[in-house]
Symmetry: C2
DNA sequence: GTCTATAGAACGATAGAC
DNA sequence: GTCTATCGTTCTATAGAC
């Protein structure tokens, strides 16, 4: 899938049809447009993935009911189906996850909306579950931490090259199972951290120490 | 800057020159190519930013010497110069940070290399500092956590629309100062979390509970 | 040095033959 | 229904007038 390898913008319909052995007109005939093709690709993969996520979360909630599910297990329900899919369908998911990871920072609003359409239900469902596990956080800070976790997840899906460069080969970004296990531990600790003071209010510094005051002038 | 608003691929030289009131040929005359223009844009912003980061880290290291700098302060040296710049140069940095955040998951290797060229020195320097603050982590897991932090940072820089949708307006993604403060607390807790067991080894589950075994078949 | 004009190729989409 | 051929547009890059 060239959307994944090159990004949506850089993947031309010509290159896509050539790689698939099809002809240029077939995409517009079967899907209607380049954007509709993307929508179809996303739905084909994400719908079954999201079903497995919801099912897994549901099982956890039944198990712990009426107590909140620990945040580790909520994250596991969110992330494990991805690494399972990547394990069982090596080539195809190893490419698709690049695309998914990149969609989170998609600049074009129309394209981002395609992605959000497949994501919003899952987002609401998992967000509510994590909220129950983290009653110690003000609503505002809770959302930020969800945001950070999503960012770490997206980055893990699509920025493997950077991990290889950063770790000088010590980490294998294609091993999603390892990444997911690490991420669960990392993000769960992040969610459990005590709330910071309101940043509008005086000096909510979590660590002591040095003043900073740089003011920019590089433009 | 249209690179930021539309992404590198979607921003055409025509649109860029039109928005700047310049003519189409001027970019190739002054910079040589579209890629060289990106390189120039990145360098102009990131070089002074990275100087401020290194200076801030250096001050922390002098302050704590010979003890390791707490991870909160290392993160602060990495992140605070960004939010300072965004605060003092509202429009221009609010756009540029979109571009930077997106560069982390840039699909085109040549373009990613442009970014990494401006980043590698900072990466090595800050990674070494955090390593000293986190001696409890195996090397492998340490790199993964750096990776997650970078992902959360990139996401915070460029995925503001998602935060707005996720929080239904409760968070303001343009308030980088708040995001940075939250992120420091979140990531520092993530770094401090105890190491997980090797995921190759048996069942390093941080929480008890239910088996999972989904195996994919959605292709 | 800075512009207009345009080359040469690739783009998404479609009309119309079969 | 699936193809070829091509439309009209846009792309990056450059040649050459001023």
């Amino acid at each position: 899938m060239l959307f994944a390898e090159r990004g949506y913008e850089a993947a031309s319909l010509r290159a896509i049809t050539a790689a698939a052995g099809a002809n240029l007109a077939s995409i517009n005939y079967h899907f209607g447009s380049k954007e509709a093709l993307l929508r179809a690709v996303m739905a084909r993969r994400l719908v079954p993935l999201n079903l497995r996520r919801l099912e897994m979360l549901g099982r956890f909630e039944a198990e712990y009911d009426p107590a909140p599910v620990p945040v580790e297990n909520i994250l596991r329900a969110l992330l494990e189906p991805i690494s399972s899919a990547a394990r069982s369908q090596e080539g195809s998911w190893q490419r698709f996850r690049l695309l998914v990871g990149r969609m989170y920072s998609e600049p074009t609003p129309r394209i981002l909306a395609v992605f959000w359409g497949e994501l919003s239900e899952i987002a609401g469902r998992f967000q509510a579950a994590i909220r129950r596990a983290c009653p110690h956080l003000p609503e505002n800070e809770f959302y930020w931490r969800v945001h950070f976790t999503v960012g770490a997840m997206a980055h893990t899906l699509s920025a493997g090259t950077l991990l290889e460069m950063l770790s000088r080969g010590k980490c294998d970004p294609s091993d999603l199972a390892e990444g997911v296990e690490r991420l669960i531990a990392f993000a769960a600790a992040g969610f459990r951290a005590p709330a910071t003071e309101a940043p509008g209010g005086a000096g909510g510094r979590p660590a002591e120490s040095g003043r900073t005051g740089p003011q920019g002038a590089d433009s």
